[in-house]
């Protein structure tokens, strides 16, 4: 007889039939019915309606039936808490059963039922079971304490279960010890500061003894727990290591990896001149290699961990290159990881072999793998100088294959090789140029353009090549646009006579026709540099670039240390700290490797010269997204696409942009500034300086080219940090209401275009597609100027930023409040509605500067009753700064009068629908409160204009 038939009942009315069968007198029939219920439960049908009938079957001598009923209870007790009480009696009775298997089953199941009333009844049986004579019951009870703690932590503490659990660490049965350790470790994780797992040499000794005797799983629990211990000195550390090393020969890979974790952590404390230290290093390699003959999934876990170990201690595996050679039938995830490790292990000694392998891989089928292999060849060139020539010729061979993605990848890495070895391999440029037409990926196009710009003087037709890219300028990605701008400026500086037209063309494309602020800013900077001081421009743009370093994708040292403490776990697979993917309080604790202690100190100081990799962490190249790198034309992607983290000093630099840099550099004159930007490898400082320098230098060089000056006057709002204020994004649609879709957003006006900046986050578990947006009629006729550009499906947990350009030509209807906007967003799941409010400054147009005479006439023309008065409090700006700030948001100061120490600013604003708003702002020196009088023919807008003033001035 088989059980598969239970899966096939799908007819109507089956619940009633089951009910009848469950209440049958025949035991066999009952059991059959329960099996059917469980089968339905498995496939996701709701059989909770049968709760009382199933629970009735619980009182039985048949163990199999009992287990089935328990399984049902665990699933549905939560949805039927009142009825679950019916089961309590049976549980309590079972906990007293003479058969230890039944006692354990009862306490195990009770712990899984998360109903408060049941939990209350659990305490007494659990207390008994923790002291049961049978080890099987005790080991089950130990885990049950962790279950109970998960439901009600306070209860566990109040009942003193934690102490009982601690006592179990000294139990005579190894499995009880292991489970107690697992339970305590889990409970301790949610109480980071409690001294729950009070590890001292005595308990450690008990654990190490149990380690030799318990099951493979128990060994893992114990080793993982041991890894959290901090030995007091190097001697204790060594003795633990000695007792853990035999685990390296265990057949279970997880035992091996956990043992490796303990050893990697504790050996940090051992003096390096100790014989034992060397022995230990030697012992680590073979088991790591053996992991590679495990099943592919485990190989993957092992490889991700080896990747960390190789970064921390390259010496362990430096002779084992061959085992990482890719096998034809390896799954793709194993292949990619092996490749990564091969590059890390590449050295002068083995480079020939490695290169031969990589060339072989470059002809494989899987596109990702081939790309990575080509990239790896480039990285070898950068890493091992002696091999650079061979690598370049290998890459050229690959370019000759004309396989599109191989060629593109090769060009990207050749660019990096140029960066590392300037003026050495430029002879290959001609070959590269032949493939110009086949490049369709932004990264490859950008790399090629960089090469053309950098070596413009050696390429006869550089101008033609660059011009050909310029034709479709607006269709290119930002990366390519930026690169093209820089390359043409370089070309101009090298061959000024014949490329003037070209440079003007690109500058106007970048500054006037582009919506991208990065591109525009860079365009302005170049424009200004070129017109002010071409010599300085040359120094800045053609400055010698720092060489790229060889290791670019290393994990940042503190993160690496943390990950080493998590060897074997998910964190080590993701290469992310647990806090990045675990919710709640668990995993927030940061683990650290112990420092070399006491007696090891003298040994270490003598050791510094040896430059172990852990002592001298290599510098990490700034990531692609870095703003300063961009400005300085250092925006070449490092050889790998992913740089896990940016060094803290760089982030500091970026923040400086708006902070201290401004004050300290205001006084500097533009010349020294220019030098600073170009030459300095200390990018942090340069970064802070660049934008802040603009207003200062603006004043310093006024008379160069009138047109240019104008440009800056006009663009002041754009280029300077005093640009129009954009409020931070707020959440408009909660994920709860949006069936998992969360929308936050803000509004901005950029270069005369109104934009709605949205962040869409998918918090559901399925992919979202087919996004669309619509607005209800509103006071100023705002409407989307184009469709919502969400091109790729939004996968779970993914976030996407979109900017939706808006027009003001939509249908008009007065809203309450005036600036209210009702929005509907549709996706494949549903349509969602929300409303938001926009700042009125969104509608202030750029040509809102009124003529003085007109202003006076209009002011008088508007009746007095239309005037509204406001107070703006706590503003500590002088009138000039304030007027500058307001201008950024298109509130224009037409005139200024000073009467008795009081500044009167007369200002005008024009709305998109042609309404004029006139204002008088009084600023008394020393008084932080401004008085604002606003006149407008449509008085209802005054309130909102005032709010804009406040918003702009306070931010």
């Amino acid at each position: 007889m088989t059980d598969s038939k239970y899966f096939t009942t799908t007819k109507k009315g089956e619940i009633f039939e089951l009910k009848a069968e469950l209440n049958s007198d025949k035991k066999e029939k009952k059991k059959e019915a329960v099996k059917k219920v469980i089968a339905s439960m498995t496939v996701g049908k709701d059989v909770s309606a049968l709760f009382p009938d199933v629970v009735n079957c619980m009182q039985t001598d048949n163990l199999e039936l009992k287990k089935l009923v328990y399984l049902y209870l665990m699933n549905y007790a939560k949805s039927q808490p009142d009825m679950a009480i019916m089961a309590v009696n049976t549980f309590v009775k079972d906990c007293e059963d003479p058969n230890p298997l039944i006692r354990a089953l009862a306490v195990r199941t009770m712990g899984c039922i998360r109903v408060d009333k049941i939990t209350e009844y659990l305490c007494e049986p659990l207390r008994k079971c923790l002291k049961d004579e049978d080890p099987y019951v005790r080991k089950t009870a130990a885990v049950c304490v962790a279950k109970l703690h998960d439901i009600n932590a306070q209860l566990v503490e109040d009942q003193g279960f934690l102490d009982t659990l601690k006592d179990l660490i000294s139990d005579s049965n190894p499995m009880v010890v292991a489970n107690a350790v697992a339970a305590l470790s889990e409970i301790a994780e949610s109480h980071p500061n409690s001294n729950l797992l009070d590890l001292n040499p005595q308990t450690i000794n008990k654990l190490l003894t149990a380690l030799n005797e318990c099951t493979e799983w128990g060994q893992i629990f114990i080793l993982d727990c041991l890894a959290n211990y901090m030995p007091r000195d190097d001697r204790e550390s060594q003795s633990i290591c000695e007792r853990v090393t035999p685990r390296l020969s265990h057949a279970n890979s997880a035992v091996v990896l956990s043992a490796v974790k303990v050893l990697m952590k504790f050996m940090e404390m051992l003096p390096k001149d100790l014989d034992y230290y060397g022995t230990l290093l030697k012992k680590l390699a073979p088991p790591l290699v053996t992991l590679l003959s495990a099943e592919p999934e485990l190989q993957y876990v092992a490889l991700r961990n080896i990747n960390l170990i190789v970064q921390k201690r390259p010496e362990i595996l430096k002779h084992e290159m061959k085992v990482f050679f890719v096998k034809y039938n390896d799954p793709i995830y194993v292949k990619l990881e092996k490749l990564d490790i091969m590059i890390r292990l590449a050295s002068q000694a083995n480079i020939a072999q490695v290169l031969a392998e990589l060339k072989e891989y470059a002809t494989e089928v899987d596109v990702d793998f081939v790309r990575k292999a080509v990239r790896a060849i480039g990285r070898c060139a950068i890493k091992v100088e002696q091999s650079a020539e061979r690598c370049v010729s290998t890459l050229l061979d690959l370019i000759q294959t004309k396989v599109n993605y191989v060629v593109q990848e090769a060009i990207v890495v050749i660019k990096d090789i140029f960066r590392k070895y300037p003026n050495k391999y430029e002879s290959v440029i001609a070959t590269l140029c032949e493939n110009l037409d086949s490049l369709d990926e932004p990264e490859a196009r950008a790399a090629m353009i960089w090469i053309v710009g950098e070596y413009a003087e050696r390429i006869d037709n550089a101008d033609e090549l660059l011009e050909s890219f310029l034709e479709g300028f607006h269709d290119e990605s930002t990366q390519v646009q930026l690169q093209l701008l820089t390359a043409i400026v370089k070309l101009f500086l090298k061959k000024p006579t014949e490329t003037q037209e070209l440079v003007q063309q690109v500058l106007s494309l970048a500054t006037q026709d582009s919506d991208n602020p990065d591109l525009r800013d860079r365009g302005y900077i170049y424009w200004r540099l070129l017109s002010t001081d071409p010599v300085a421009a040359k120094e800045v743009v053609l400055a010698e670039k720092p060489l790229i370093s060889e290791e670019t994708d290393l994990i940042e040292p503190t993160l690496l240390e943390e990950l080493i403490c998590h060897i074997g776990t998910l964190a080590s697979v993701y290469h992310k700290p647990p806090s990045a993917f675990v919710e709640g309080s668990r995993g927030v604790q940061h683990k650290r490797i112990p420092a070399r202690a006491g007696s090891g100190e003298s040994a270490e100081s003598s050791d510094v010269g040896q430059s172990g990799p852990s002592e001298a962490p290599p510098a990490v190249i700034p990531s692609q997204g870095d703003l300063l790198g961009d400005l300085l034309n250092l925006d070449l992607a490092p050889p790998t696409a992913t740089v896990p983290s940016v060094q803290p000093s760089m982030q500091m630099g970026a923040m400086d942009l708006l902070g201290g840099g401004l004050d300290s550099l205001m006084g500097d004159d533009s010349d020294t500034l220019g030098g600073d930007i170009g030459g300095s490898p200390s990018m942090g400082a340069g970064l802070g300086a660049a934008p802040a320098a603009m207003p200062a230098s603006l004043g310093a060089a006024p008379a160069v080219g009138g047109g240019l000056g104008d440009l800056f006057d006009l663009g002041g709002g754009v280029g300077m940090p005093t640009g129009s204020y954009v409020a931070p994004k707020t959440v408009w649609l909660l994920a709860m209401k949006g069936k998992g879709l969360e929308i936050s957003g803000t509004f901005a006006r950029r270069g005369g275009i109104i934009q709605m900046d949205l962040t869409l986050t998918n918090k559901a578990m399925s992919v979202m597609t087919d996004f669309a947006i619509q607005f209800n009629r509103n006071s100023f006729g705002l409407a989307p100027a184009g469709p919502l550009q969400v091109l790729t499906p939004l996968s779970p947990n993914q976030t996407i930023d979109v900017s939706l350009p808006l027009s003001t030509s939509g249908p008009v209807m007065k809203m309450e409040p005036l600036n209210n906007l009702q929005v509907a967003v549709k996706n494949n799941i549903d349509v969602f509605y929300f409303s938001c409010q926009y700042p009125l400054s969104l509608l202030f147009v750029e040509d809102g500067k009124m003529d003085r005479q007109v202003f006076l006439a209009t002011w008088k023309d508007i009746p007095n009753e239309n005037e509204a008065h406001f107070q703006i409090k706590d503003i500590h700006l002088n009138s000039d700064v304030a007027s500058n700030k307001l201008q950024g948001s298109n509130i224009f100061t037409i005139a200024k009068r000073t009467v008795e120490g009081q500044d009167m600013l007369y200002q005008s604003v024009k709305l998109t629908n042609g309404i004029w708003v006139l204002a008088e702002m009084r600023i008394q020196t020393g008084n932080p409160n401004y008085t604002l009088s606003i006149r407008c023919r449509a008085p209802e807008v005054c309130q909102f204009v005032y709010l804009c003033y406040e918003l702009v001035l306070k931010n």
Binding site: D3, S4, K35, T42, V43, G44, N62, E64, Y70, L71, L101, R108, C112, R114, Y136, V143, C144, A146, N173, N179, N212, E213, T215, E216, I220, R243, T245, P246, R247, S249, H250, N252, S253, A254, V256, S258, P286, P287, T290, E295, E297, L298, K322, V323, F325, Y328, N329, V365, V403, T569, L570, A571, V573, Y574, E583, M765, V767, S795, P796, N797
Partner: protein, 436 residues
């Protein structure tokens, strides 16, 4: 720890779903189906993170096993557990197939309840499990009190893999040394990588709780003994010993003893089990050498000639020899001539498969083929996958020799001499490839 465990069929329908932790909801079942099983592209990682939930999966034929968690679990342990789960199921009902899983779903739930508690793996030795999880649930009712405590002490005890009171009339054991030899060779005949991964598999039918000691020609052990003995001896035995790169043992082996004395001592489980695994890379006997010759004649024709040479004692016979020569995707026709065995072009596998039933040592055989190609405008070159080989030989390519396996059972009246022992060596091809 593991928050839940699901088993799906190839269509993504759930066959088994067991949730251990409150943080895993029913939607996790669907998330895995939608994002992994029904995903269009090939699996890029055995670990997937969907909405802060991590899914570990393994596949057995067309059945998916997935473990789910929201915590930073020990990833290696989860996979080891999933493999173990497969072993346990196979030991109970044979092949892991949709039909078998549906037929045994009650049993599987029972097993899952026992071997995972709150997501923590518990004792998963089939020997122990079979004493109290039986397909006839009623049986467990009739255990006596002594039997019950015997079960629980075995499940939790130090020797969880063996029960007391086993009796055989004939004490017998079978020892198989199974090796798979792996090779990657360049077209020029240079060994790029070669290693042997071996297993010592044992079938023991021994009474009582016997203490066993296993010895092999491990270089470290022999050298150690050589130091104590005469120099003559060490010179002799040194030749026959092999260097083992690394080995791992079944949990019955006392690892600390191996670590300190390098002796392998244990109380074996009853019946079938794997005593140890090992890996060697030095002085490997490569049983076959493949010499490929591929010539492109114009754009529409390939000429392939492959010679295989057997490289072991002439008195021994290799069996089940199969050479697989990949052909391009645009192959239109193949003509094959071989001196020995049978060769066929298999269009569905894009390969010429050449089979030879038996071949003695120090022999040589050859195949030549003409491959006609359809002209294509595909720019991409053919990737030329390596030529692979399968075979079985009656010796251990690593050179490993079993020196002794001693059995002591002080409580019962049989001695080492009374035990009938069988030893067998089988060398098989692992991934045995020659690039062409």
């Amino acid at each position: 720890m593991i928050g839940g465990l699901f088993i799906y069929n190839h269509k993504g329908e759930v066959l088994i779903s067991r949730v251990y932790r409150d943080d895993i909801g029913r939607n996790a079942v669907d998330a895995f189906r939608v994002n992994v099983i029904h995903a269009r592209q090939q699996v890029r990682s055995p670990v997937t993170n969907i909405a802060r939930t991590s899914f570990f999966h393994v596949k057995r034929s067309n059945i998916w096993l997935a473990a789910v968690t929201k915590q930073n679990v020990n990833a290696a342990m989860v996979f080891e557990f999933l493999y173990k789960m497969c072993d346990v199921m196979a030991a109970y009902f044979g092949k892991i197939s949709e039909e078998n899983i549906k037929n045994n779903f009650v049993l599987i739930y029972e097993l899952l309840d026992e071997i995972l508690d709150f997501g923590y793996p518990q004792n998963s030795e089939t020997g122990a499990l079979k004493t109290f999880i039986t397909q006839q649930g009623i049986k467990s009712q009739h255990h006596t009190k002594e039997e019950q405590s015997q079960i629980t002490s075995q499940v939790t005890g130090q020797i969880g893999w063996r029960r007391e009171g086993i009796k055989y009339r004939r004490n017998e054991l079978f020892l198989d040394v199974l090796e798979s030899v792996n090779l990657l060779m360049s077209p020029q005949g240079q060994v790029l990588s070669a290693h042997v991964s071996g297993r010592v598999v044992m079938k023991s039918y021994l009474s009582g709780m016997p203490e066993c000691k296993f010895g092999m020609n491990d270089k470290i052990v022999i050298d150690k003994q050589g130091k104590g003995g005469t120099t003559d001896d060490s010179g002799k035995s040194g030749k026959q010993s092999i260097a083992i790169d690394d080995c791992t043992f079944h949990q019955c082996v006392r690892l600390s003893k191996f670590d300190s004395e390098r002796s392998i001592s244990f109380i074996p489980p009853d019946g079938d089990y794997e005593l140890m695994r090992y890996r060697t890379t030095k002085d490997i006997i490569l049983p076959f050498r493949v010499i490929p010759l591929v010539r492109e004649v114009g754009r529409t024709k390939l000429e392939v000639k492959v010679v295989i040479k057997s490289n072991f004692k002439p008195s021994l016979l290799a069996q089940k020899i199969e050479v697989r020569i990949p052909t391009p995707l645009n192959t239109s026709g193949v003509q094959v001539i071989c001196m020995k065995g049978k060769a066929k072009y298999k269009a569905s596998e894009n390969a010429i498969v050449w089979k030879i039933k038996r071949m003695a040592g120090m022999k040589e055989s050859q195949i030549s083929a003409e491959i006609e190609l359809l002209p294509t405008n595909d720019k991409k070159k053919w990737a030329r996958p390596p030529i692979s080989m399968n075979f079985e030989v009656p010796f251990a390519p690593s050179g490993l020799k079993v020196r002794y396996l001693k059995v002591f059972e002080p409580k019962l009246n049989y001695s080492d001499h009374d035990v009938i022992k069988w030893v067998r060596y089988i060398g098989r091809s692992g991934i045995y490839e020659t690039r062409c």
